[in-house]
Amino acid sequence: MKRFPIFGWLIIVLGILYFFTPLVGTLEWSLRIVSRDSFSLNAYTNVLMSERFQRTFGFSFIAALATIVVSVLLVAPTAYWVHLKLPRLRPWVEFVTLLTFVVPAIVLVFGIVRVYSRPPFSLMETEWGTNFLVIMGYTALSLPYTYRAVDTGLRAIDVRTLTEAAQSLGAGWGTIIFRVIFPNLRVALLSGAFLTFAVVMGEFTISNFILPGIVSFGPYMVNLNQTRPYEAAAVAIISFGLTWTSIGVIQLLGRGAPGQLAGTR
């Protein structure tokens, strides 16, 4: 067994300090709402009891679920079709999904606002319209994550042969997609879904410019930061907890998936 070199330990310690110092600082700050010398959970109870927290959190939660549904239904069949019939287009599709990393969210928002605030697409006036636009915007933001996850999942199974096997047994496209392909992408779809969830819960730019006032969780956090710093720290800790729980759940579900690798090739 090779000895773990000093240098390795040093990197680990630095990494831990780098990632955890702000977190510990925030946690400590959030506990000092009552006085400088004692800890209390008041910031957390204040936040959790507040009507605005519940409303914005609820909105973003539901928006995240809607985004997951839309992006899965958009991305999974597309990626499947590209794998099956248009493998040469794969780099292009991947490029398109990565555009949201390249185009700043603020540019995306101005584009959306410009196009959809005048006829023929006046969607900015109604609540339904803005909700719709915001979910489409979130979907665009989640594309790189969902596409990557689904693409990796598709690579792990022999898409073409499984499709042909199902076809020769009489299955149509609907059956093939929902009974053969999707079930084998379960883990991939879940990890895409949790990443999307995390992105939507923290999203600020699109929400702030399209939705009227403080409707979603991201703008709420920013606003809170300016007005009630202790509660803001508490919210930050809560959302960290959420994200980590999501990742934990991905890991757990990923482990128990039958037949992801064995016997598919």
């Binding site: 199974i157 022999d158 042969t161 499984l162 042909e164 096997a165 199902a166 076809q167 020769s168 047994l169 009489g170 299955a171 149509g172 059956t175 053969v180 079930p183 084998n184 379960r186 039958p258 037949g259 992801q260 690798l261 064995a262 016997g263 598919t264 090739r265």
Partner: protein, 361 residues
């Protein structure tokens, strides 16, 4: 009318012809193999029968119905893939019952047929396993059961055994043949393994370079190859260069030594260069046996192959093999020895090669 008919089938991928001028009639219940080297178009032909590729030209008929442009879902063919292609998310029973579920059969009927199929593949009681809990051989048996459960008109297998190890390959191929006979299902079997094709099939289609070289029973293919390719691909390669000395007598010259063939040499003239084939097992040392042809050769190499000993010999430019059955008292020559070998006139086959002068046999 044959049960499965391919007429003038051709498939181009861009400019490249993957299959050309393919004509084949398969009778109901027949087991036909496509045999040929990698890239010769076996899989492409099979996929056209299954409906995964559309022919560029030609027609495909099953049971007197033109299916050339039918989608695969409507064709009623069962397909078994080299990679098994079981649905990883389903149990063995659900895999086998998949086609029946699609066909909207009742639960009871599906269960009954699945049990019946699991019995046929000798995997009764393993219905609740997932594919990853099975060995390769078991997975391929399940794939076979899945393809057969829908009672297809034609069963198509694309190198189903090539991912398995040698022992299982041999036992499973016998099992496939037995099940095929039991159900009487018309079957096309793609392989590049000549032993597999010869041992399983009613008829073998030898393919090379997108074309059919020869169609015949294993006996015909092995003993009467009609082209140089068939002779070389099926069995051990032994071809010799010779000249015609006297077509009327069937006299040929190999390396200055005269031999003769029982074959008619109509249309050949004295001095024509020809290629002849000679199976290793039909050659013996002179003295053990005395046949009508005798050649002086030099021993080049001796390889022990278990039940036979393969001896490489040389006569002038020609290097070829002879096989001796192994036995403890076999007196083997030494490398470099001069020996006389012998073979019958019937063992000498003159082949039509690519640029042959249109000889038919």
């Amino acid at each position: 009318m044959s049960f499965l008919e391919l007429t003038n089938v051709r498939k181009l991928f861009g400019q490249v012809a993957a299959v050309e001028n393919f004509n084949l009639h398969v009778e109901r219940g027949e087991f036909v193999s496509f045999l040929g080297p990698s890239g010769c178009g076996k899989t492409t032909t099979l996929r056209m029968i299954a409906g995964f590729e559309l022919p560029t030209d030609g027609t495909i008929r099953v049971n007197n119905k033109d299916i050339t442009f039918q989608p695969p879902q409507k064709r009623d063919t069962g397909m078994v893939f080299q990679s098994y292609a079981l649905f990883p998310n389903m149990t063995v029973a659900d895999n086998v019952g998949f086609g029946l579920m699609i066909a909207k059969k009742s639960k009871a009927e599906i269960k009954q047929r699945v049990d019946e199929m699991l019995g046929i593949i000798k995997m009764f009681g393993l219905g609740n396993r997932y594919p990853y809990q099975l060995s390769g051989g078991q997975q391929q048996r399940v794939a076979l059961a899945r393809a057969l459960a829908i009672r297809p008109q034609v069963l198509l297998l694309d190198e189903p055994l090539s991912a398995l190890d040698a022992k299982i390959r041999i036992s499973l191929r016998a099992e496939i043949r037995a099940i095929q006979r039991q159900l009487g299902i018309t079957t096309i079997y793609v392989t590049h393994d000549q032993e597999e094709a010869l041992s399983l099939s009613d008829r073998v289609v030898v393919m090379n370079n997108a074309k059919i070289e020869q169609v015949g029973t294993p006996f015909e293919i092995y003993n009467f190859p009609q082209t140089e390719f068939t002779a070389q691909f099926v069995g051990t390669l032994n071809t010799l260069q010779a000249q015609v000395r006297d077509a009327a007598r069937g006299a040929l010259v190999v390396d200055g030594q005269e031999i003769s063939t029982a074959q008619k040499l109509d249309g050949f003239n004295a001095g024509d260069a020809v290629t002849i084939s000679l199976r290793p097992e039909r050659v013996a040392f002179y003295g053990e046996l005395q046949k009508s042809n005798v050649l002086n050769v030099t021993i080049q190499n001796i390889t022990f192959l278990g039940s036979i000993v393969r001896i490489q010999v040389r006569s002038g430019e020609n290097i070829f093999y002879m096989d001796e059955f192994n036995n403890p008292f076999l007196a083997l020559p030494k490398i470099g020895d001069q020996q006389q070998i012998t073979f019958s006139r019937e063992a000498v086959l003159v082949l039509k090669s690519g640029d042959a002068r249109g000889k038919t046999f």
